[in-house]
Symmetry: C2
Subunit: 352 residues, 2 copies
């Protein structure tokens, strides 16, 4: 616990880089004094920002590169031509052991492609998944996959369940997280064959997973389960819809409070409570999508992240490292070996 | 316009039937005096409720049946054994011309299966879709399919776009609705092959559709487009997640206002504005999922609908009838004939 925690940051990724990255690191450092940073990017832009932040500067170094992965670059192109990009160098630092985690607010597809190529998947994992944590009626809920794998086999979904379970135990310190599979209904006969087959695998598994069956989109904010497993298509729609709906209501509420002198006075009276409400719902606190299933920690921060949001992405990455999440995933999967082969042979029934 | 509007109601469907159905009809009648009702269900339960509502009773008749489709009945079972159920009789009334629309709060799968079997699809339509209207930042947005077809071909999605467009023009009176395809990103290389192919078909089509390309989950509440087309899997997740998120925030907000004397006072000061806000977001006003693409009007009300919600399902059904939505769909699709054959032959590229 006395060890320092070196973190590699893509200083050029995202709409507000490098300021959001540098100031976000400063904010995270105030919460976690053991942090150290390596900033990858355009040194003449980064150093002046560090000069203004002596405490941060004392634990940081800058690795200069001119190359930046464009936001609209195709992952395949970024892989080929971005070998000295700030994003790639940050991931390379995790591979070499210089850093314990890499964080970028840049191009998601490129970051995933690079992380997969450089870090490789964990033993027993077919494909990494993007996971994130969200507020729910009952606390927090882990969601994965959020868009890395549009189509998933039953085995992929089973592995995501193991990864989500391990994450909820290791990082959120849940004793026996309830794991649900996202579907269009809770009956066993519903949904795509892959989802139904994954449900059977989780039921039959000898793993100590608290499988709660199928859940629907409304179960996620309600907190019916602690971990929601979906293919990347369903998970991405779930994520974006929840974000958009929260924003719609937030805007409508703001308009409502601004509508006349009485509502403005009401807002003043309720401002402390409203502040708590806003804080609980603030998406910036949940910023930082984790690439689970990789042999190393890589976190994707939102492209529009400000410093406060970026500081949370750093903190999420640190939690992954500190709680040995990857080792937990490996251990859980190792136990699941036999049952996987056993169930994989049975065929999904073609219930319409 | 002077014609009466006879509507067939499944008086036994839903958690609060038959009271919610009868009182919902009474509420709708106050808004639309041309309505007439046929109630299908247990006469001894329905007649006393009508006796208490003379104005409604004057325009209503009751057709007695003991049979009710169970909420957990499989669609195939309901089709075989529910031929004299209240749900089936309501749909039969549309087929025979006795009623202009059928509405039920019962089992969705059974209702769709019966409606398909009895009413048949419109000429040129492969599969009906479930559509609904939701509030957005800019007004209203039409979403389909919400769960009738989990997997859809590019042609299915193309047809849904035509149906959604026709609905937005006919019922929401939009002059040139923007139509978007739900995907996991806005770039043309993203998503399932079917979605990408449907995008090409809509782009190349000679139809006068205002195709806006791919949209993401957050575009729906933001109102980026007026019509959102998805397969039933994605659409269902979008719908349920939006509902659940709205509920989460609503509950948190209620708790916030109740937290102390100042927040209670604030709520009193802002109560009129908050009332408007709640009304705008009230999901009951958007109750009534329409089965588009059928040769007749059938509307699914939420299982938990109260009378107010049910009255809105009736009003949505009436809008579909009055605006000749089905004829518009037929007319639009007839124009699309040649282009469909033309584009259908090209293959989707396998972009990852």
């Amino acid at each position: 616990l006395d060890q320092t925690l070196p973190i590699a940051l893509d200083a050029m990724g995202g709409d507000h880089a490098p300021l959001s990255v540098v100031e976000g690191a400063a904010m995270a450092l105030r919460k976690l004094p053991k942090l150290q940073f390596i900033f990858y990017g355009k040194e003449p832009l980064i150093t002046p920002l560090l000069d203004e932040r002596p405490a941060l500067k004392a634990v940081s170094r800058v690795v200069h590169t001119e190359d930046v992965v464009a936001n609209d670059a195709k992952p395949s192109v970024a892989l080929r031509s971005g070998k000295t990009s700030s994003m790639r160098l940050a991931i390379d630092a995790v591979k070499s052991g210089e850093a314990l985690a890499a964080i970028s607010s840049g191009n998601t597809g490129a970051l995933m492609a690079m992380a997969k190529l450089v870090l490789k998947t964990l033993p027993g994992i077919n494909r990494p998944a993007i996971a994130s944590v969200f507020p729910s009626q009952k606390g927090k809920v882990v969601m994965l996959d959020l868009g890395a794998n549009l189509e998933c086999s039953a085995e992929d979904l089973f592995q995501f369940a193991v990864m989500g379970d391990a994450y909820a135990r290791a990082v959120l310190h849940m004793a026996y997280p309830r794991v649900g599979l996202l579907n269009v209904g809770s009956e066993e006969s519903k949904g795509h064959p892959e989802i139904r087959e994954a449900g059977k695998m989780l039921k039959k598994s000898s793993l100590d997973i608290n499988f709660a069956g199928f859940v629907e989109g409304n179960d996620v904010p309600q907190g019916t389960v602690d971990v929601v497993v979906a293919d990347g298509y369903g998970g991405n729609i779930m994520l974006k819809t929840a974000e958009g709906t929260a924003k719609l209501i937030g805007t409508a509420l703001k308009d409502a409070f601004r509508s006349n002198i009485w509502t403005r006075l009401a807002y003043l009276l309720a401002s402390e409570t409203m502040g708590k409400f806003k804080k609980r719902m603030d998406p910036r606190r949940y910023n930082g999508a984790m690439f689970l299933g990789l042999n190393g920690v890589a976190v994707k921060s939102h492209g529009g992240a400000d410093a406060y949001a970026f500081s949370h992405a750093i903190r999420h990455a640190v939690e992954l490292v500190r709680n040995n999440t990857n080792q937990r995933i490996i251990d859980e999967l190792a136990q699941a070996g036999p049952i996987l082969e056993d169930v994989g042979e049975s065929q999904a029934e073609n219930v319409p």
